[in-house]
């Protein structure tokens, strides 16, 4: 299992290469079994605490939903009582207004067109980022020369925000669609490259030497030692890259002119429709989360060896 899933929003993909933390020796399931084996009944706060702290999966989901509900409740109250302590809530739309706007949009066809177009853009840009980022990262991790030639570009281009690319993207690419795909692609590319490089670089040299002394060829070492060792990092890079792709998409869709959830949000800003703006923001957040979960689920089978190895 993956010990810690990286939160893309937390890292913005611009953080230093990430390391996957090793799982604790005792698995969560074992702990659960241990606790359930205790027969005595708990009372009062202790009982509440036991339920709240339960490691069972349904409980974890319950806690997550509770956390979100508390956030929405706080948002509702902050708007209702017009909270004004450093941050001001007096003109912020309430959750109810945002919900009403959301319902209105999902009853129409347009919203789904926006979402569909954005998903297609993400899929294409992301696949390109994977197809280029992973091989490049692997090569850079194994070859110092390639690394020296490519890394300066990665480091210089990486901090450039997606919006700054808009004028050049329009100028350089033949169609609007390709400009948008390019901006989204760049967002996903760098986290994937950097995490792949880090994964390759942290391959225990002792394993490489062991394999070599056992007569493994360079290609075999790459296939059976380096690649598996890098996989956890690659998986993290893929998950982070997906998150960054979504927030680059908004910048790209400023130029789209017609469809896309980023365009939807941008146009809402130009007509000062705060509920729609928030619907757009939350849609991007939700779609980003879902697709990141999808990436994690898809990479999970490749990480099975870890559980066996430990």
């Amino acid at each position: 299992m993956l010990a810690r899933t990286m939160d893309p929003a937390e890292t913005h993909g611009t953080a230093a290469p990430l390391q996957v933390v090793s799982p604790p020796p005792a698995s969560a399931e074992a702990l659960a079994a241990l606790q359930h084996s205790r027969p005595e009944k708990l009372k009062g706060w202790a009982a509440v605490h036991a339920v709240l702290a339960s490691p069972a999966l349904p409980m974890r989901w319950a806690r997550r939903i509770l956390a979100l509900s508390l956030g929405i409740l706080w948002w509702h109250l902050a708007v209702k009582y017009q909270l004004n302590v450093i941050v001001k809530f007096d003109n912020v739309s309430s959750p109810a207004e945002v919900w009403a706007s959301f319902i209105k949009h999902i009853n129409g066809k347009m919203y789904f067109t926006h979402v569909g177009v954005s998903i297609r853009r993400i899929a294409i840009a992301y696949l390109f980022a994977c197809a280029i980022g992973i091989p490049l990262g692997l090569l850079m991790g194994r070859s110092r020369i390639i690394n020296d030639f490519i890394m300066p570009y990665v480091e210089i281009l990486r901090p450039i925000p997606a919006v700054a690319w808009i004028p050049l993207a329009i100028l350089m690419w033949p169609t609007e669609e390709s400009s948008i795909l390019y901006i989204t692609f760049l967002g996903a590319l760098f986290p994937i490259i950097l995490n792949t490089v880090a994964g390759v670089e942290q391959t225990p040299e002792v394993l490489v030497r062991a394999a070599r002394s056992l007569g493994a060829k360079q290609r075999q070492i790459f296939r059976h030692v380096v690649l598996p060792a890098a996989l956890p990092n690659i998986a993290t890079g893929l998950a982070v890259g997906m998150g960054v792709a979504w927030f680059s998409l908004l910048a790209g869709e400023i130029i789209s002119g017609q469809y896309g959830i980023g365009y939807f949000t941008w146009t809402a800003y130009h007509l000062i429709k705060y509920p729609d703006i928030i619907v757009g923001m939350l849609s991007i957040g939700l779609l980003g989360t879902l697709s990141t979960l999808g990436v994690q689920a898809a990479t999970k089978p490749f990480l099975r060896w870890q559980a066996r190895a430990r």
Partner: protein, 448 residues
């Protein structure tokens, strides 16, 4: 940092802000330096420090230190956003964004905005236009059927586009894309979009740069276009004297443009980066914009039409125009300047074909501006100057059909009876050529 020094710093911070709030008054102004009609309410005030001249310094304002915060945006909505957040008091924007501003303020139920004056206008709607790439084979709006048109959604140019496409019966045949000015202008230059509709001064910027050609001028839609100033109601109630100072200063800035349009064009160009030749087309006598602040009935009527369109197309909330439009400040401003407000309301400057009060052509040489009684003379002068290695900034002529001021190098010409006639549109030139048995010509034929 030790605990005591941290506490000390915090205490110092708090006392300093408390001290400051008793002495300083911050005035936030959101403007759009690149949008020509708004410059008297923003960038001119800032650079000539006109507001400082008019701000009250007596009574309850004795000893007050003003901090003026000018924030420059490329469109109106971000200014409305800042005003709703309470960070800006004044905002200068175009007619459509003004309505979005007023309606959204009214919707909050807590605060409102007041529309206090006009910064610049064109009665017929010139300033907004539909432009195609210069090499395009599209010459009329009808030819856009089956093609894409981009425009900043929610702007006056967007409203004009919807109206003209409906009027021509091709609304459902043209794909409308939302694109901000920089995006649309780049797309026209790259020949990546069939047409782009924009507000002032972008169409003329594209013409001047030689990347775009107008196929539809806002005047053909017949809806006035103008920019003006809104102020937060709570601010206006607390500081009516400052609102008055702002209106008076804006009027002074308007007078500054009118007095010496050439100098104004050069200066504003230095401040904003918009080409001086384009600005002169707007500022000059017979040019596109008139910078005068009175609230004319035509403006109110146009605003109501615009609001109807916005409400229908984009569900913009209702707006109580009688409450929103507040003419008290601009009336007082006229009085203070010794001008007749009612007379100003009644008089509207607009272009008319073959206006005898204007010269036939103007040429802006690097060493100054010259006027000519005929296009032919102007063209000859340009030719001679080019031969002598002298730089010509721009030339200006008037459309024979509408009286609109145009760049000489983008007009279509017809030579008939030994006289050159200029036209904005190819179709008009061709019609005139066949009726007057004239010969079509281009600028390159007559002046190069």
């Amino acid at each position: 940092m030790s605990k005591t020094s941290l506490a000390f710093t915090l205490a110092a911070l708090f006392t300093s802000t408390a001290f400051a709030s008793a002495q300083t008054l911050e005035i936030g102004i959101g403007h759009q330096s690149t949008v020509t009609n708004t410059v008297p309410g923003g960038v001119i005030l800032e650079k000539l420090q006109l507001l400082e001249k008019h701000l009250p310094k007596t009574g309850k304002y004795a000893g007050v230190n003003y901090t003026l915060v000018y924030q420059d945006y490329t469109s109106g909505p971000p200014i409305t956003n800042q005003m709703l957040a309470g960070k800006l008091a004044f905002g200068v924007m175009g007619d459509y964004p003004l309505i979005v501003n007023g309606a959204n303020f009214q919707k909050t139920g807590k605060n409102e905005s007041r529309f206090i004056m006009v910064t610049g206008y064109n009665l017929k709607g010139t300033g907004n236009a539909i432009v195609v790439p210069v090499a395009s084979d599209v010459f009329t709006v009808e030819q856009l059927a089956g093609k894409q048109l981009s425009t900043p959604v929610g702007s006056a140019a967007w409203g004009m586009s919807l109206k003209v496409l409906r009027d021509k019966g091709i609304y459902d045949k043209v794909e409308i894309l939302g694109q901000a000015p920089p995006v649309g202008v780049a797309n026209i230059a790259q020949n990546k979009i069939a047409a782009h509709a924009d507000f002032c001064p972008w169409s003329e910027v594209m013409e001047f740069r030689g990347t775009g050609r107008k196929i539809f001028d806002g005047s053909e839609a017949g809806i006035p276009t103008f920019h003006g100033t809104v102020v937060r109601k709570d601010f206006a109630e607390e500081h009516p004297e400052i609102v008055q100072a702002y209106v008076n200063a804006t009027m002074e800035a308007q007078g500054w443009i009118e007095k010496d349009p050439l100098n104004a064009a050069v200066k504003v160009s230095e401040w904003t980066g918009i080409e001086k030749e384009v600005l002169y087309l707007y500022f000059s006598k017979g040019g596109i914009s008139t910078f005068e602040g009175s609230m004319k009935p035509q403006w109110v009527e146009a605003l109501k039409y615009d609001h109807g369109l916005l409400a229908k197309e984009r569900e913009i909330p209702p707006l109580d125009f009688d409450k929103w439009i507040d003419t008290s400040f601009v009336k007082a401003g006229f009085k203070a300047a010794g001008k007749d407000y009612e007379a100003a309301v009644k008089s509207v400057v607009t272009s008319k074909p073959e206006d005898a009060a204007l010269p036939s052509a103007e040429v802006w040489f690097e060493d100054g501006l010259k006027t000519y009684a005929s296009i032919k003379e102007a063209a000859e002068a340009v030719k001679a100057a080019t031969k002598a290695g002298k730089k010509v900034n721009a030339s200006y002529v008037y459309d024979k059909a509408t009286g609109l001021k145009l760049f000489g190098h983008v007009a279509f010409y017809v030579e008939a009876g030994g006289k050159l006639n200029a036209f904005m549109k190819k179709g008009d030139a061709e019609a005139f050529a066949s009726s007057a048995k004239g010969k079509l010509a281009a600028w390159s034929d007559i002046a190069v």
